[in-house]
Symmetry: D4
Subunit: 252 residues, 8 copies
């Protein structure tokens, strides 16, 4: 609203032209690359610059969008990439880090100041680690300290209990699990902080590519659990970071 | 095979007629009521007489089948009944017990001798009790002592732990749960005896009438779990009793 | 961990008996009502006392659990109830409020101090209001100021824009929508605070009881959205309140 | 009816033979290639000659059908082709254009006169472009001017608003979107012209190969939206062109 | 855009206040009834005033929204109503017509001038008539002449052929069918005008509440078919009317 | 073709008028009742007159269609009716028989001569009898002797074997089963005649209204099984009768 | 029954030993290859020798089973094979024919005498031909003349009509179609002989690998249609041949 | 409980430190490899050491976990492996056996003493053998004699009957079947011992990767059947071995 108010006042006082006012009101804040409208305003609007989703884009498209975002932003995150994407991006940004397990690239101009509280990333099995790592890399670049606690599924629940002290230190918990997806329910019963559940497509047969874990999490009898899409480590970390940022920013 | 061998020998030695031999070979061991072929041989073949599934049968049909089975069997079990079925059956069998929560009727001519080891029936929430009771009634009439441990779902997992001693005494565990169906996974991780999981249709939304619990159980990362149909307390108890009976009977 | 440490020390110094130590270690913090194990420890462990899910329980069961929880807790929340439940509960607690649209009962001994920031509850259409109200009532009793913004679906998106100023004031946004469930995506693109999406079962045909909205929200291209079960207003508010509480409590 | 009437009259007045009359009445207007019955009458019946669906046909089959259609028609469109199909077709038709992004081939003997009003093709993300291009190529060859407006998904809804003027100029809008498929709802709320929604299979996890977008569009709360099959850019453009043609042809 | 331009100019020339300008820019064109934000601007934006979807609203809510819309609009359409809704609405609007088969109410202050070309509504079986009638009533009130052609399913395809002359006179065809939903494919193969297919939930067994018809229509091999939600006669007619209106209005 | 040829010749030789020729060519063989186009030509075209599907039709509609069909046909079959339909039909046709278990009405002016070979109708359980009876009544009125063999499911497979002699006498076998639908596989392995499998919606839980039986039958490892819709006893019998009729009619 | 009777008599009269009687009664008519129990009795029991399903078997396994069947049978049919299977089989049987389009092998020692009536195989599109050919090859080797009528889908329904004369000559019709699977409905409305519908997995998007065609066929409003599994050309032809054989064999 | 009691006593008598007591109480019985928490306590808790699930793990990860388990356990079982895993493991354990059909590795330090009763593994078709072998290998290494009875599906049911004598000797039956999954129903009707059903993903079309077999088994009308996940031969054998072990161990 203040944005609009300011535009109107500037316009009335003739600081800006009619054309300019129109443009500002319709928020023309994207850069058109032909194949993509890069949303350079998002950093301000959503708290983090546009993240590049690599799947289904050519290495050259990813590279060009990265160049555009890098200009306006201190950190660039690219998810769901292959080796070919990494090679192409590193030609322009030799400092880019290719996180192979997480299938991510990060380019950091300037690190963010870390929030005072960490985010914990838990996963149930070894095979869930790629998704957990996508979450961890995302949380890290967005300014969060990350506690990684892996391979603690409910089949050997004592492994969870021996990590309880550590788990309770985190402001937000991201719990990654495939198969029956029971870990978030158990964790949510033991802590009072928000739990974001990430179903993975790990499993076979009646797992149906992650549906069993997804349904398990949506139907969890544990209160306070919210869920993201199957294998969506990025989305979970993005939400977790938004939550973590609440404690530091004065809400206007 | 011995059955066939005996028939052949009796036939050859003319103890039985050609007609009789044919009949015995084709195992004509059912009584035809017009609307039902009552399987009076099942007690011998499967270890328990035919159980009457009440749903979709009229009170009169259930009554007539019960009369037929009662003649050949010391115990009669009728599942999935309504009050109307119970009224009709009790006209003929005043001694019949109507288990209202479990929607079952039992008629006991002579109690079975109990197996030396109990079966435990666990359930996650209060709403799962009808299914758990169907299992408990079935296990009981088939000759098993039953340990009932109810409302111990994973959202408050300490309630499970405080019952661990009791749980470990059972030869077989029937674990009934709706929603995400996580309880069997946790239980199977803590005991070494067979766990039979029963998903229930308790829940709403993405529960889809028990699918979430069913998938959770089928995909359980806990070893040794087997699963029955949604709400099938009877089937779980039948299987549990077959397992429990193994320890007493010499396997030929 | 501190809890365990304390028990061990008390035990060593013989302040408590072996029996007591065992009991404390296995966390026997529930009250057994026969049909229910009331979890009286949850307030401490999860930040709010056990909430009673009324569906599938008799009015008498709900009443008895309410009595038990009321003893240990300043606020009691009962969800998914019918008029019969309300009548039964109000016999014992005349001060209980029956929220008819939300199908909830609240009993408040002492109000919680409100968190400094409000939670906003948005809904897309008039038919989504019952779910939105369940969320609003839950958020309120857990200590949150609630901003209700109803009937602002994407078919007339200007209704959303005219409420943007208000929406941006909330620490957390609960966005309730049926049909195609597009509202959370649009909202998440306009704010930087956490958005919890609640799909509703409102619609017909290929809506499939809320699946269309659920899938729409899980696949949202808007970053930072997490999702709860279909029609689960309570769960969304519980999670939102956990998030809102983070800003006030020192995380240990 | 007039067609039949004319045949009958010609037959009676012996302008045509019995054999001819039979043939005309049963509309024997296809050319049999052994593996295909090419429908050379469709141009007259449906307003555009038969379009060749390349998937599942060999390059040679596609080539032979193209030759047959080219004989009777001024424009040939081949969809869902691979490079091998293009190579084979260009041997015979060097003037054929291979639209690589759209996976189409067009062969134009004579351009159609353009309809007075354009069709707009909008898509939500970069990954939806192949489907959008299939629509654009189809609309173009059928005689429509095409306005391409790409990468304007609801996550950054201002990109849509800054194109509103352009969008409102089109007689028909084809809106292509994957993931949650929310874009058509928002667009339909802002314009009064027909909106044809095309769900794409872009996404992962609970997207289920385009089901989330398809269901979102079918359940759209925006009035006037009709939907085609997942990834069916061709079908959307065919329908859009039929609509656009209505304004130019006197309807008899 | 012109709207915005005008507001800016009026504001600059001080014809309107800052407050007014803000309000106009955010398009505050809805009337807030507490439970509903009536969208009184839609007539201008979408070509027809907001249609009231009765399902899930109380008779009183429907009545109050109708009053609000009637004030700004010459025609009011209410769909998916019960007898109780009709009674309540007719208390205020005695002239309201209750279309019992179509479950609709119409209130007409002033009839629209009819478009020059009719819309045809076809249905496959007698049981599909309620959905077909919802389409017919909607098309009629929006200013279209309607040709009703019912019970002409593909099992007796000659019934379709004997109506071909009539069918070809319509500018747009709405084809309603349940079961396998094959009628639109056959129709689209015989005409060159747009076909909008409406699957109905008529059938049983593997019909799955209309899914078989919906999938049949989405996968139609007939070109130019677009599809709406199961049983959505209203949506089909709304789209058909938008299409029909194109021939009369100069597209700006 | 001969039909067309004859019409053309009659027309040329002026035996019939232009109008008549048109009519005959478009096969205008239906009677229009307003709500239904009764297909009076079907007896000739398909070998049996149109069967009235009662579900979703009013008693009056069913009655009127029955009157129309009765005029042209010696047998009338009405399926899926309620008591109200029967009452209405019997007002006009006191000789109509109401088959209560099968939910059918039959009106027989003149019995068909029976085909030389019987059709067998088998069903797995008592609850499948209504569907089996719909098949049996249909087969009977279409001119087949029917062998009913009920309640012989695979759980007591000896009941099947003791009926093998009888089963092998039938020209066609209709096998009705719910739950896992295994009976047709077993039967098809034992006979060489066509087996038509009818899945029923009998069962609960993961039966999903007959899907388990339907899938079981479609995936049967037994050769020669074909399948009809869930609960479609009528369709199975119609197909069986068409098969049975082949042996008597000279195929032209 | 006669078989059993004979065994009993032979046994009593000591023509056969006890061991032999046992063996005959248990019908030990399979040859054990270790990995397979070849069912050499099936020719007698089911009217055709066991058909080898190649998918999931190694070339060597297929070869060995073929050798075994060839010994007892005049025709060998192997379906769902790859080139590697064909190469391996042709090493032993140089006379084996590899039907590449149909993915079948046939080995014919002695041709069957053809049944007096042909079977027609229709398919909707060019892409359905492999499935149609599997049906045609199967029907042929089982002793049927085959009429192939391909690419006559409902989008150009005149192509069907111009083949009606030919179609009506067949005793049984196999109708193969993908996409919406509408062809069998239309065909069944025009003929009085049995129609066996084969859905194919041809299509994309909401086709879901053939589900749309399968559901369309199961829900067909055309009477007398039975359905087989998706892509199961073999099964359709096997059933069609069983039907065709009925007219030639005296049914005992 | 005894475990806890002993820790408390040792702690009080100062045999162990506070630190040690804490550790023992939280059951810190896993070895952390970074990517995996190897559960070395499971042998004691569940009766068999942790089994390595190879899918989704690198050969090196599998090797390292194997080394860790081998240290504490006499038998090591690795399932779902590829040749690469086998090569890597055999570098360290040349005595490891690679079961190629079963996709398993076993490493045996010391054989277990066999239980007195065998487990039977039945499968319906040749293609089901890999799953059956996974079950057989698992049962064997866990200390069970295994009776393999393969390729005895219901299409030739006499093959089952001729093995009945053998089948009835087993304490537990594992029945593996794809397609319609009917074999367990038939088997359970003939024996009185527990039947564990394993659906396989063998089939095509409406098999849906094993769903048809899974649903068939869950809905089996045969009493006493329990089910595991699709293709889960390991899980079935694990459960069977737990059952078999009951007869030998005194249950405390």
């Amino acid at each position: 609203m203040e944005h609009l108010l300011k535009v109107l006042e500037d316009f009335k006082s003739e600081k800006i032209s009619t054309q300019k006012a129109l443009e500002l009101i319709t928020l023309h804040n994207s850069v058109d690359l032909g194949f993509a409208n890069v949303d350079i305003h998002r950093n301000k609007r959503n708290g983090f610059s546009e993240v590049i989703y690599g799947a289904g884009k050519t290495p050259e498209q990813v590279r060009d969008i990265a160049i555009q975002i890098y200009e306006y932003s201190d950190q660039v995150l690219i998810t769901r990439i292959t080796d070919a994407h990494a090679v192409e991006v590193q030609k322009i940004f030799p400092q880019a880090i290719h996180h192979k397990v997480a299938h991510c690239i990060t380019i950091v101009k300037k690190e963010r100041i870390k929030y005072p509280n960490p985010i914990a990333v838990l996963c149930a099995g070894t095979s869930d680690i790629p998704v957990a790592e996508e979450a961890a890399i995302t949380a890290d670049i967005m300014g969060n300290d990350v506690l990684r606690i892996y391979d603690i599924g409910v089949a050997g629940i004592h492994r969870l209990f021996s990590n309880l002290g550590k788990i309770r230190k985190a402001a937000v918990l991201i719990v990654v699990a495939g198969m029956e997806g029971a870990l978030p329910s158990v964790v949510a019963g033991l802590v009072s902080h928000p739990v974001i559940a990430v179903p993975t497509s790990i499993g076979y047969g009646a797992n149906f590519g992650g549906i069993s874990a997804l349904l398990g999490m949506l139907n969890s009898c544990g209160s306070g659990i919210t869920v993201v899409n199957i294998d969506n480590g990025f989305g979970a970390a993005y939400a977790a970071s938004q939550i973590n940022s609440l404690c530091n920013n004065k809400i206007e």
